[in-house]
Amino acid sequence: MIPSEFLGTAFWISVAALMIRSAVPLIFGTIGEAFAERAGILNLGIEGMMLMGASVAYIVTFHSGNYWLGFLLAGLAGLLMGILMAFLSVTLGVQQHVAGLGITILGSGLSFYIYRITVPTPGGVPPRVNSFPPIYIPGLSENPYIGPIISQPAPVYIAILIVALAWVIMYKTNLGMMIRAVGENPKAADTAGINVYLVRYIALMMAGFLIAWGGAWLSVAHTSLFLPGMTQGRGWICIALVVFGMWDPLKIFLGALLFGGIDAFQLSIQAIGYFNIPYQLFFTLPYIMTIIALVVVSRKVIYPSALLKPYRREEA
């Protein structure tokens, strides 16, 4: 017999609310990654950048009590890691795969280390910090149907704004045009007077900033604590999602909602405990779906032409 909670509206409302919350780190991470890849750089440092964002946001909030400051500084930490990635992949032009993994290993270690030296954990219990409260919208927040879905922490709304902003930057501004140009044909872009190196640096700085926000969401909005490795491979889902979303902010937004929905659904049916199977199997669902999604779109996608190819003016 299917339990009544499974059919109830309350169940689906909580799934919808959780879907949005699960999608937020994917939105920040994937849109950030889209800028990097559109400029021709595969940024596998994403997991490390997210972890640094989570750690910095948590530490700053712990000491200042101000989660807005935590969020901002997390972005700056990500931006610095973006510069490091750019130095390796743009200035030196080394193997992007390995450079990104270096950043990820560094970020995982460093995020853990700075957390340990700046935050006392009496009895091994991580202290909770102030985190973004749900925004109260008069008249709507009380509504039992819409309230739980739209009354969300502020970064949810920032994420939605970022989607729109990213779309405008990507397709309607000079910067976006230049980013796409250096990712498609850097030699032609250079001939047209675009500074390929500078544009790629800027793209990676934007990427790092946004990706770190994905991590910051996890530590100071979705929860109010930092755990080592708390991103749990979300960065790798973003790497796949950016392909699934074809490097387009709007499609990425829809893709993130879809994957957030899968995640929310598995968490919710787990909570009901109706299926008598180990709950860890549900955890695998988003990762399996990600691989399936890659297979489904594999024949259709067209990667940015210069992805993974370092640009060297001397050899162009």
Binding site: L84, G102, G109, P278, I291, E314, E315
Partner: protein, 365 residues
């Protein structure tokens, strides 16, 4: 900062070296990368009011300073040598296997299945069975990404990374669910059969026969690398896939074989950890050995001897950082910072092996 880099680039130019860098120089570059990494990482120690020299002294003392310390370093060295060789072999043929972590866990899981299903079988039968089972488990985990890459052109980096998590959660589901050891307080499988336990080769320590298996694998890798025709094929594939194709080297077939062997070696690492150290399938079987294998392979320049040395160094850092933590209070994740920075410095060093930077004269301005 940004503008400085860009500006300085326009005054310099990067030129590909025509001559190859001598082996001595390459080794020198790698040592410089390690030293540089430890220097940079010491900036994280200084704010704690601790002299980095004392911290590193404690680290090396904790890894090499006594029989027990050295034995624990060898215990850590064993799985790291497996994963280091697994990744090096894959990278040599440009199969970007980032999934050694998952392959290790699947290998451990399949091996454990035999270890907890068949009791009373003599050691000389059950031990080879479990090692082969580990190999097969790891191979399966690596073959799927290889097939997806060959058939659909999907980047194996993403699929191997995602599989790490899928396999880890499935392994967890087993030890929290059907395989849960009823007599244990924490999630783990029942104990494997006594006959499958690897002997301790140094009495009074945890150093087990798995060390010999790891060294054997490294020697086999050496033979492939130096002598085998297949090693030549791999290197050619790595250096120039197009040329390899023109030479009539079957790229798809090679990727499959690389995945099979690389994943298999990582799988044996998992089997050996179960048989030599834990005797149960556990969540904490690997402390990121699969990821550290990437640092080891790159630091060892994909060369068999380099990989052995790099694996020993990383085992030293990881074991020693625990002792350093106890002696000075510096958090042990410093080891992972050192690993990450080392990998980044290795990349910079590799850049300088392939390129030189020249100042542009007035003519070019």
């Amino acid at each position: 900062m940004k503008s400085v880099i860009i500006k300085s680039l326009s005054k310099y130019r990067i030129i590909r070296r025509h001559e190859s860098v001598s082996l001595q120089k390459r080794v020198g570059y790698m040592i410089a990368a390690v030293v540089g990494s430890m220097l940079i990482s010491s900036t994280l120690i200084i704010p704690l009011g601790i002299n980095p020299l004392i911290a590193y002294y404690e680290m090396f003392k904790g890894a090499w300073g006594s029989k027990l310390a050295l034995s624990e370093t060898l215990v850590r060295f064993t799985p790291l040598l497996f994963t280091g060789v697994a990744v090096a072999l894959a990278f040599l043929g440009r199969f970007w296997n980032i999934g050694a972590e998952g392959q290790l866990y699947l290998g451990a899981t399949v091996a454990t299945f035999f270890g907890i299903s068949f009791y009373g079988i003599p050691s000389y039968i059950i031990i080879p069975i479990m090692i082969i089972a580990g190999f097969i488990g790891g191979s399966i985990a690596a073959l799927l990404p290889a097939i997806l890459r060959s058939k659909y052109g999907i980047d194996e980096v993403v699929t191997t990374l995602l599989l790490n998590w899928i396999i880890y959660f499935m392994m967890q589901a087993l030890i929290y669910g059907p395989w849960r050891n009823p007599v244990s307080a924490w999630p783990e499988s029942p104990a494997i059969t006594k006959e499958a336990e690897l002997i301790r080769i140094i009495p009074g320590t945890r150093v087990h026969a798995g060390l010999f298996i790891a060294l054997t694998i490294a020697i086999i890798y050496y033979i492939i690398y130096k002598k085998g025709y297949w090693g030549f094929e791999l290197k050619l594939l790595g250096m120039n896939p197009k040329a390899a194709y023109v030479q009539g080297i079957d790229v798809v077939r090679n990727i499959m074989i690389i995945a099979l062997i690389s994943g298999g070696i990582a799988g044996i690492a998992g089997a050996v950890e179960v048989m030599g150290i834990h005797f149960h399938l556990r969540e904490a079987l690997s402390h990121g050995y699969g990821y550290t294998g990437i640092v080891i392979a790159m630091l060892g320049l994909l060369h068999p001897i380099g990989v052995i040395l790099a694996a020993f160094f990383m085992a030293t850092v990881e074991t020693g950082s625990q002792a350093m933590h106890r002696a000075t209070g510096i958090p042990y994740p410093l080891a992972f910072v050192i690993e990450g920075v080392t990998l980044i410095f290795v990349l910079i060093a590799v850049f300088f092996m392939e390129y030189k930077v020249e100042k542009i004269g007035g003519v070019y301005k």
